[in-house]
């Protein structure tokens, strides 16, 4: 087991408004989320001495991540905006996902480098299409994909879902219950982009197709916005405003898998199955201990590979589990209780972290899983840069 099990905690969570295209700058949205997280924890800007994020802009083709404050907010820049340019003791920046920043921040606290770490993710929706491969040539890894039109993540996810359907005899209608129920969960989440816009299971089969069988309802919606967490030691967190969400343990994936295509089902399972035993070893827990699971859903199909890879279902049985309602609030394993990224908007894993925190601190109001003691959060697709966390209730 990890020596620092339950020694670090999330003490506060803050969101900016999540909008399709905001008329405020990304920097302003980031400050809104950071100040909300500090206020939630009962801290002031002057208490912050650590900041970490993954600032990259995940755009495919086109210009990306070049204008500080507009389409990226790096932690150095943010330290200045917060008036903490000279107060910050530690800064973390990763080209993995922001969830790696949570690991870095926890280790910085354990290592005594700083006391209160802000972990945030700010994302901007660019002009035009998010995925827009207009260049005449493709270099690097793109040269094996873009000439064939294989330049957009929905298509990468589509070949995984297609193979899953074909091998296990499912069809799109089998996903309708989960997708509609997930949207119902989002109705109970004040931060969710799709709050106030419910959908019926009957809306799913006819949804606009992006890359068959991935429809618009299988993709998280890109938003302008930010979510921020405050990390501190469990000891300090117990004296702050909110009950702490204890970080029981984590595991990260370096599983590369086959080249030739960015995602394939077998390697996504293998990556998750590489992470899973390390998470259970670190935490001393097992799938049976998990009361609610927040499984990354930048694309719907990822819920399936995580559900199976983490050991909740056998390979190929995840979709039947969801179809039969076992992932609903009140089901055997409530999944993405706040609507996930499909319901909340694209925040690259912050959604899953924030919801796990809410559930183990009894802050999920109408969507609370009663007494939830342990919540899993898994992020990305199981391949390299993926992470899994277990958060636990204090006391």
């Amino acid at each position: 087991m990890w020596d620092f099990r339950n020694k670090v905690a999330v003490a506060g969570v803050g969101y900016s408004k999540l909008e399709r295209r905001s008329d405020r700058t990304l920097a302003a949205l980031t400050l809104e989320a950071c100040d909300a997280a500090l206020a939630d924890a009962g801290l002031r800007r002057s208490d912050l001495d650590g900041i970490a994020t993954s600032p990259a802009m995940p755009r495919y083709g086109g210009r990306k991540g070049v204008d500080e404050g507009i389409d990226v907010v790096t932690p150095w820049y943010l330290a200045g905006l917060l008036g903490r340019a000279s107060g910050v003791q530690w800064i973390g920046s990763t080209n993995g996902m922001v969830t790696q920043s949570l690991i870095d921040g926890a280790l910085a606290i354990i290592g005594g480098l700083c006391d209160h770490v802000l972990v945030y993710r700010a994302l901007h929706v660019p002009e035009g299409r998010y995925v827009n491969f207009e260049s005449s040539h493709a270099v690097g890894s793109d040269q094996y994909l873009a000439p064939y039109g294989f330049s957009m993540p929905p298509a990468w996810a589509a070949v995984v879902l297609r193979r899953y359907f074909e091998l296990y005899g499912y069809e799109r209608s089998d996903f309708a219950h989960y997708i509609a129920n997930n949207r119902a969960n989002a109705q109970l989440n004040p931060n969710a982009y799709w709050r106030g816009k419910p959908m019926a299971a009957e809306d799913y089969p006819g949804a606009r197709m992006i890359a068959d069988p991935i429809s618009i309802l299988d993709c998280d919606i890109p938003v302008d916005g930010c979510c921020a967490l405050i990390l501190t030691s469990a000891e300090r967190a117990r004296h702050l405003r909110r009950p702490p969400a204890l970080l029981t343990g984590f595991a990260a994936s370096a599983w590369q898998g086959a080249g030739g295509t960015p995602m394939n089902m077998e390697d996504m399972w293998d990556g998750a199955k590489d992470v899973a035993p390390r998470l259970w070893d670190a935490t001393g827990m097992s799938p049976a201990d998990v009361d609610t699971a927040q499984l990354y859903d930048g694309f719907s199909v990822l819920v399936l590979t995580w559900l199976e890879g983490m050991g909740f279902c056998r390979d190929g049985e995840g979709l039947a589990f969801l179809r039969d309602g076992h992932g609903d609030l009140g089901g055997r394993l409530p999944i993405n209780t706040g609507g996930g990224a499909l319901g909340e908007g694209r925040l690259h894993g912050m959604t899953q972290l924030a919801e796990a925190v809410a559930q183990v601190t009894d802050r999920a109001s109408e969507r609370q899983v009663p007494g939830a003691a342990h919540s899993l959060a898994t992020i990305s697709n199981g391949l390299a840069k993926s992470t899994a966390f277990l958060f636990s209730r204090d006391g």
Partner: protein, 142 residues
């Protein structure tokens, strides 16, 4: 609009690691990088072998025979050069030489309704320009 104004698909820009692969394609041959130490084939070509860490490797010709691992069909252009090529069948194929030796390509000479996992395929080389040939796949003729 004159031909020169029709947007092209993004074309591969070979680098030192990929040049032998694309040069093979121009000769209508499929080459894969093979580790000298363990014999594992890699696609895309890698600087070092992901299976054993070996750093010596060479390009070897492979059969071009494959099976269909999975696919998606696009009805909207993924970039401007695909406007007149719809629907696009994006396929992931598994080469017969090695399990999980996967390639992405387009499928030609087949209708979307006839696709199934495991379908036997073979290469079809598409000469796009004098310097660029793409590796595509079509149903195997035998």
């Amino acid at each position: 609009m004159p031909d020169s104004m029709v947007p092209q698909r993004p074309l591969p820009l070979p680098d030192p690691l990929s040049e032998p692969f694309w040069a093979g394609a121009r000769r209508h041959e499929l080459h894969m990088r093979k580790c000298d130490a363990c014999g594992i084939l890699a696609y895309p070509p890698e600087i070092a072998c992901r299976a054993c860490g070996g750093s010596e490797a060479r390009f070897v010709p492979v059969s071009g025979r494959a099976t269909l691992h999975s696919w998606t069909v696009l009805h909207e252009p993924p970039s401007p050069g695909f406007r007149d090529r719809l629907p696009v069948i994006l396929a992931v194929v598994e080469l017969e030489e090695q399990a999980r030796l996967l390639m992405s390509a387009n499928l030609v000479d087949i209708a979307p309704g006839d696709l199934r996992i495991g379908l036997p395929l073979e290469t079809r080389f598409e000469d796009v320009t004098d310097d660029c040939t793409l590796v595509q796949f079509a149903p195997a003729e035998r």
